[in-house]
């Protein structure tokens, strides 16, 4: 037990070091935000985490999540329109929802989707530095009630150190680089939506099925989702029904690597 505590302490320390280190060569803002969501799920009593960022025009967009599951991603994307993440962004305060079933009138679509996926507790933390708010990190739990106080504090601290790192002005080029990378990431999501439409129309499947097939393909080949989407749009991939595995993507020309 004591040993377990010491190990956890080490992991917490490692996470802080990792999240403070934004001024490395080849820094990738989107990858960094993925890391933040993963560390939160590892270190806190939470089952999944998603990060919504202001698109710098004033709307929230999902840019990172600790999971790749389509349904869970939808739960986060839904919050671009309604839910605790949006509330947290507007109020600039932590929003804790002990039980989604008690907020069905306020956020009908969000609570219905969350409950359907088996989540009950939600905890949204604002990403802000002084007067600037850039987004929110939201944690979901399958069991009710919010994070305990120690976890809530640790979550806030992890988000704060990451936000400070992102908004750091220590490096002259840093701010510009973060904006460039995030805008590129937001545009990648548009490419994925276009590809869903292309595959759905070409093969008579739903956009959800098209998305699931692209995700599976990307994961099995360790490719980025927007690369797969680009290939699908260019006509290099088609959907095949492999029976047991459901719909999968295959290359249209044989012998292609």
């Amino acid at each position: 037990m004591v040993r377990g505590m010491a190990m956890r302490e080490q992991r917490v320390t490692d996470a802080f070091v990792e999240l403070a280190d934004t001024l490395v060569a080849g820094f990738d803002a989107v990858e960094f935000l993925h890391t933040l969501t993963e560390r939160c799920v590892e270190l806190l009593d939470a089952d999944t985490a998603g990060l919504l960022l202001s698109d710098e025009r004033g709307s929230l967009r999902l840019v990172a999540a600790s999971t790749g599951e389509t349904r869970l991603l939808e739960l986060f994307e839904l919050q671009e329109q309604e839910g605790p993440s949006l509330e947290c962004y507007h109020s600039r305060q932590v929003v804790t929802l002990p039980d989604v079933n008690q907020e069905t009138e306020r956020w009908p679509r969000f609570t219905a989707t969350a409950a359907e996926l088996g989540f009950s507790g939600v905890h949204a933390i604002p990403m802000q530095l002084r007067t600037q708010i850039i987004g929110t990190l939201t944690l979901f739990r399958t069991h009710p009630d919010g994070l305990d106080e120690a976890d809530a504090r640790l979550g806030k601290a992890l988000v704060d150190v990451a936000t400070i790192g992102l908004l750091s002005e220590r490096a002259v080029r840093h701010q510009e680089m973060v904006t460039e990378q995030l805008q590129t990431a937001l545009n990648s999501r548009v490419t994925v939506e276009q590809a869903k439409g292309v595959l759905a129309e070409r093969h008579g499947v739903t956009t959800d099925q098209a998305f699931a097939a692209m995700r599976r393909h990307a994961r099995s080949r360790n490719q980025r989702l927007d690369e797969v989407a680009g290939e699908a749009i260019a006509g290099g991939l088609r959907i095949a029904d492999t029976g047991t595995d459901g719909l999968t993507l295959t290359h249209t020309r044989s012998g292609r690597t």
């Binding site: 710098e56 004033g58 929230l60 671009e80 329109q81 309604e82 939506e193 276009q194």
Partner: protein, 262 residues
């Protein structure tokens, strides 16, 4: 509600305060040009560049249409220097505008003197002309890439968060103008660009992909056709898009954008 530098979307589907403000700036620039007989009052790219110059804390703005490497068509510029900076990039084959297009990413250069190694020809020539900072923004939506909005100013230094947010809306609007000029609806009376490309309208992008397959056209033309239909029928773009995604509406390559019952 915080009164910081981020304007919030108040309602689902409407135009954000920020977008409404940027549109009003461009409309005012168009109206001013009409009053002096320079323009015919249309929401034009020239008006957009003038408004960008006036509102974004810069000394000039230009829009260049690009569809691939080497295709570089100047559309509008707020002044001679803005136009000249574009020509320089064509001459040298390098610069923030070309990079923004190639990488499909904004290129923010708050101090040109720091990028002379990256773009020796362009940076040197721009510095000689007294340019200190250049900011280039791709006009894109997913795989659609139609050009670049570029800003320049004499003073070095980054854009503020507020200026950056407004510039991104200017870029969205410029993209819409390029799309709508390709379908011709920008010349119709009552034309007004909509606000549904950038603001979380996944269904619009999905419908774009579907219409591209239905018509056998590229994404840009598919989106232009969707927008033209929304304008002609006077329905919101996201409603037309939702009809396509739910397969209540198909675009027929023979008949133009006509509804075809299943």
């Amino acid at each position: 509600m915080g009164s910081g530098d981020i304007v919030l979307m108040r309602h689902d589907g409407g135009m954000s305060e920020r977008t409404a403000r940027v549109f009003s700036w461009v409309a005012a620039a168009a109206a001013a040009a009409t009053a002096t007989g320079d323009d015919n009052g249309h929401i034009s790219m020239a008006a957009l560049c003038r408004a960008a110059h006036l509102q974004l804390g810069v000394d000039g703005a230009s829009v260049t249409a690009m569809t691939g490497p080497g295709t570089h068509t100047p559309i509008a510029a707020s002044g001679e220097l803005a136009a000249e900076l574009e020509e320089l990039q064509v001459t040298f084959g390098e610069g923030p505008c070309l990079a923004a297009f190639t990488f499909s990413s904004p290129m923010l250069v708050p101090d040109l003197a720091e990028v002379t190694a990256r773009w020796p020809g362009f940076a040197g020539a721009a510095l000689e002309r007294g340019v200190g900072a250049v900011f280039a923004f791709p006009l894109h939506a997913g795989t659609i890439q139609l050009g670049v909005l570029e800003l320049h100013r004499a003073a070095t230094g980054p854009m503020t968060a507020e200026q950056l947010a407004n510039t991104l809306v200017f870029a969205d609007l410029a993209l819409q103008l390029l799309l709508d000029s390709s379908s011709g609806i920008d010349r119709r009376p009552g034309y007004r660009p909509t606000d549904e490309i950038s603001h979380g309208r996944d269904v619009v992008h999905q419908a774009t992909g579907m219409v591209a397959v239905q018509l056998g056209v590229d994404m840009a033309e598919a989106l232009a056709r969707l927008r033209a239909r929304a304008f002609t029928e006077d329905v919101p773009l996201n409603e037309v898009a939702a009809d396509v995604v739910t397969r209540r509406l198909r675009f027929d390559p023979q008949a133009g954008p006509e509804e075809k019952p299943e």
